[in-house]
């Protein structure tokens, strides 16, 4: 029995950059560049990072909204099988490699086609960032929330309205909202609609792409509470993508910090907040404005901006902005290593800092 619902191995997503007279390929935007990540069943994993670091791209690649350039994603597979396939892929025996490649067609979701893909879509869903843009303005609320059911051919005809009502009641809306258009809802209610739509096919995994960034504080609290309650009720697994660290702290069990297409630190929420190891995480945490005038803490202010992902720094990607960077940081790329029971960090100097 595998405790991981989702296993991501060496996932890469490059966007080609075209230039010149004949629009030839001149480079790549390395949005996601070799990510290893595991999401456990029933947990909420917070994915944190600045804009442009590739967190949304990673989420969308998991959902197959983007096709990955390289790498493997296993969804709900047994651990032995994954290990067997990974071992075969790494081996030098061509026969074993061929076997592994055949095997991947059935267990790696980046290779899914047709019916397999349709089946996957039933299990993974997404809630998009801005509810006012992700809901079609010309569809009634009942049609919006039942559209996944229609696409999956689960429910049709007269049963649709009952299904729609059931979904709306799950997220705290009612019968009065069935025949309304998105513009008649407030921001918070729209996000509730989007959540109801994601719940329609009773998925196992939902990706939350900054679900509260377009909302006000008082409404944000309502939505966060709703998400927590739904998670317990339906035993859901969340990937919670956001840049708001305090929100992540409230919702997530574990946190992964991303910087320029790479995961730099990963661990339990409390551990990350109390004893973060990577200098980037430290700076990120100290930059959050805390709503309390009495905290006399010192901020670490990073200089400069996130580098261009077309041409990232060669070794450690954080080195140009890092105040602890030494020569080794500029020459050798750090790998994720286990600091203490499941707390992973990718930094050469975490022991000294």
């Amino acid at each position: 029995m595998n405790t991981n619902l989702l296993d991501i191995r060496e996932l890469k997503k490059y966007y080609p950059v075209k230039g010149g007279v004949f629009r030839h390929h001149v480079g790549d935007v390395k949005a996601v560049d070799g990510v290893d990540l595991a999401v456990k069943k029933g947990e909420c994993l917070g994915l944190v990072g600045e804009s442009g670091c590739g967190k949304t791209t990673l989420g969308k690649t998991i959902l197959r909204l983007h096709d990955s350039t390289d790498g493997r994603i296993y969804f709900d597979q047994s651990e032995e099988k994954i290990q067997k396939v990974e071992k075969a892929l790494a081996s030098k025996n061509p026969k074993e490699q061929e076997w592994a490649r055949d095997e991947l067609k059935t267990i790696d979701i980046t290779k899914y086609r047709g019916k397999d893909l349709l089946g996957l879509r039933k299990k993974v869903q997404i809630v998009f960032q801005d509810p006012s843009n992700s809901l079609s303005p010309r569809m009634l609320a009942k049609n919006i929330v039942t559209e996944p059911l229609v696409a999956q051919r689960v429910v049709r005809g007269r049963a649709l309205e009952a299904a729609a009502l059931e979904l709306l009641e799950k997220v705290g809306l009612g019968k009065a909202h069935l025949k309304r258009y998105p513009h008649e809802f407030s921001g918070g209610q729209r996000q509730r609609l989007a959540i109801a739509r994601a719940l329609a096919t009773s998925p196992e995994f939902i990706m939350m792409d900054e679900p509260t960034s377009a909302l006000d504080v008082s409404v944000q609290a309502q939505i966060l509470n709703l998400l927590k309650q739904l998670q317990q009720e339906f035993n859901l697994t969340y990937l919670f993508v956001t840049h708001h660290l305090l929100v992540v702290k409230y919702t997530s069990d574990r946190i992964a910090v991303m910087y320029l297409g790479k995961i730099v630190e990963q661990g339990e929420t409390a551990r990350i907040f109390e004893q973060s190891l990577h200098p980037y995480t430290k700076a990120l945490l100290s930059a959050i404005p805390i709503p309390d005038p009495y905290t006399g803490r010192k901020r670490i202010i990073l200089t400069g901006d996130v580098p261009n992902p077309v041409d990232p720094p060669p070794a450690c990607r954080f080195a140009p902005r890092c105040s602890y960077a030494t020569d080794i940081c500029r020459e050798v790329e750090p790998q994720l290593e286990d600091a203490e029971d499941g707390h992973l960090v990718a930094c050469h100097r975490w022991r000294e800092l």
């Binding site: 600045e50 804009s51 407030s186 918070g188 209610q189 006000d216 504080v217 008082s218 409404v219 944000q220 609290a221 309502q222 966060l224 509470n225 927590k228 840049h243 660290l245 305090l246 929100v247 702290k249 409230y250 907040f273 700076a283 990120l284 100290s286 930059a287 959050i288 404005p289 805390i290 709503p291 309390d292 005038p293 009495y294 905290t295 901020r299 202010i301 990073l302 200089t303 400069g304 901006d305 996130v306």
Partner: protein, 432 residues
């Protein structure tokens, strides 16, 4: 007691839309003192931005300032009454915006013009408000160069330049003197109500608007293709000022940055440019309308740090608008909480966070995820009301846990509970 720099008194702004009249501001009274950072907090749609747009008199078209006073105390100390800018002409406002009061807008990427270079956009405010200083400096540099020149044509070309700049400067000084005398008289007529003086005041306002006269020779030279190049000297002076300003704001490669266009810069850099435009003329009041809402936390920390250090050095007062209570705790001295067009509570930041009185403030503070939060977040039930038909009496009463009968009927008056802490709620004041 600190001196007041800006005071709005019972400000009402309405928006006349097709659906009806949106009563965006419902008697907003705010004061900003000299040397403090005042934070205006509220959810979206509560009228924070409309308040500051009213202060700048740049409310968009269906909107109109219906009633109220906006009083500024920025000139000499003897003008104890202040200037009510709602009674002044548009030309007066134009000369004031960006000079005495300036504003940082919400999104840096949309508030910069994509087709003009950074140098032009920042230099515009030097050119507009500090033309006399620029002209004087240019005359000086050209005169310095003149001494060394021997070549006949160059010598005469430089002499022509100086003559033209002097002409412009003289015209400008005459204009400023005239405006000053008119302003002095206008100031005396501020509170007038009888027909004769009001007529006189309107006439003065009109005359003030038309006082600027162009110099014929300069206008002519500016039209002639080769001769109009004489202006390149003043452009150079402006450019050097822009470069030094950008340097002081910590823009790397400011020489190169001046020639680039907004899309070539990152979000944080764009926000720095917007701040540079606002600070070009050392305003006495800087209005920052959610300056960091679209930036990442690390960049936000940079910008907030910048505003903090600038406030110590250059600007005297900041009116900071935000919806992020964390930022308020970080940089503000005093803060006002707004809800649906009302200012419901004003107090010092420490007082607001330790002893919130208004039910809305209490709810707002409880619904923010905090650093040490573990248990369930509490929420404020319901949503922000539609301001076309706002709730009667206190606008918060439909969502308020302590609503009483009187809340439905009467708008609560603003009561000063303790020193500097005032609240607009019926729960308080009865016992005193």
């Amino acid at each position: 007691m600190s001196t007041v720099i800006l005071k709005t008194d019972e400000l009402y702004t309405d928006f006349y839309t097709f659906e009806g009249v949106v009563k965006a501001l419902n008697g907003v009274s705010v004061t900003v003192n000299q040397g403090e950072t005042f934070g205006l907090v509220g959810e979206s749609g509560c009228g924070k931005s409309v308040t500051v747009r009213s202060i700048m008199r740049i409310v968009q078209t269906p909107g109109k300032i219906v009633d109220g006073k906006i009083v500024l105390f920025f000139r000499d100390s003897d003008r104890t009454e202040g200037i009510d800018i709602l009674k002044r002409s548009e030309a007066f406002m134009t000369s004031m915006r960006g000079n005495d009061i300036s504003m940082i807008f919400q999104e840096a990427s949309t508030s910069l013009n994509p087709v003009l270079s950074i140098g032009y956009q920042v230099g515009e405010s030097f050119y507009f408000h500090r033309l006399d200083q620029m002209l004087e400096e240019t005359i000086e540099t050209v005169t310095d160069k003149l001494d060394g020149t021997k070549f006949f044509v160059v010598k005469w070309w430089r002499r022509l330049k100086i003559a033209l700049f002097r002409r412009e400067l003289r015209r400008l000084k005459n204009y400023k003197d005239e405006i000053d005398t008119i302003d002095n008289e206008l100031y005396a007529l501020e509170e007038a109500t009888d027909v004769k003086t009001v007529r006189r005041r309107n006439m003065l306002n009109r005359r003030r608007d038309q006082a600027w006269k162009k110099d014929l020779l300069v206008q002519l030279v500016k039209r002639v293709p080769f001769l109009k190049r004489y202006q390149s000297d003043i452009q150079e002076t402006v450019r050097s000022h822009v470069v030094s300003l950008l340097n002081s704001l910590g823009v790397p490669n400011s020489e190169r940055c001046v020639d680039s266009y907004p899309h070539e810069l990152s979000g944080g850099m764009q926000q720095r440019i917007v701040i540079a435009i606002a600070l070009a003329c050392n305003p006495i009041l800087l209005i920052a309308d959610e300056p960091t809402s679209n930036l990442d936390v690390t960049i936000q920390a940079q910008i907030v740090d910048l505003i903090k250090t600038l406030k110590e050095k250059i600007i005297s007062s900041v009116l900071f608008i935000t919806h992020d209570l964390g930022l308020v705790a970080e940089i503000c001295d005093r803060t006002g909480i707004m809800y649906a067009g009302d200012v419901c509570e004003v107090a010092s930041v420490k007082e607001i966070f330790s002893n919130p009185l208004h039910p809305y403030t209490q709810g707002l503070l409880r619904s923010v995820p905090k650093a040490e939060q573990v248990e369930k977040l509490s929420t404020i039930p319901g949503t922000v009301p539609n301001l076309i038909s706002p709730p009667t009496g206190c606008r918060f009463h439909p969502r308020c846990p302590h609503a009483m009968e009187i809340c439905v009927k009467e708008k609560p008056p603003t009561i000063e509970v303790s020193d500097g802490h005032s609240v607009a709620c019926h729960l308080y004041g009865e016992e005193e």
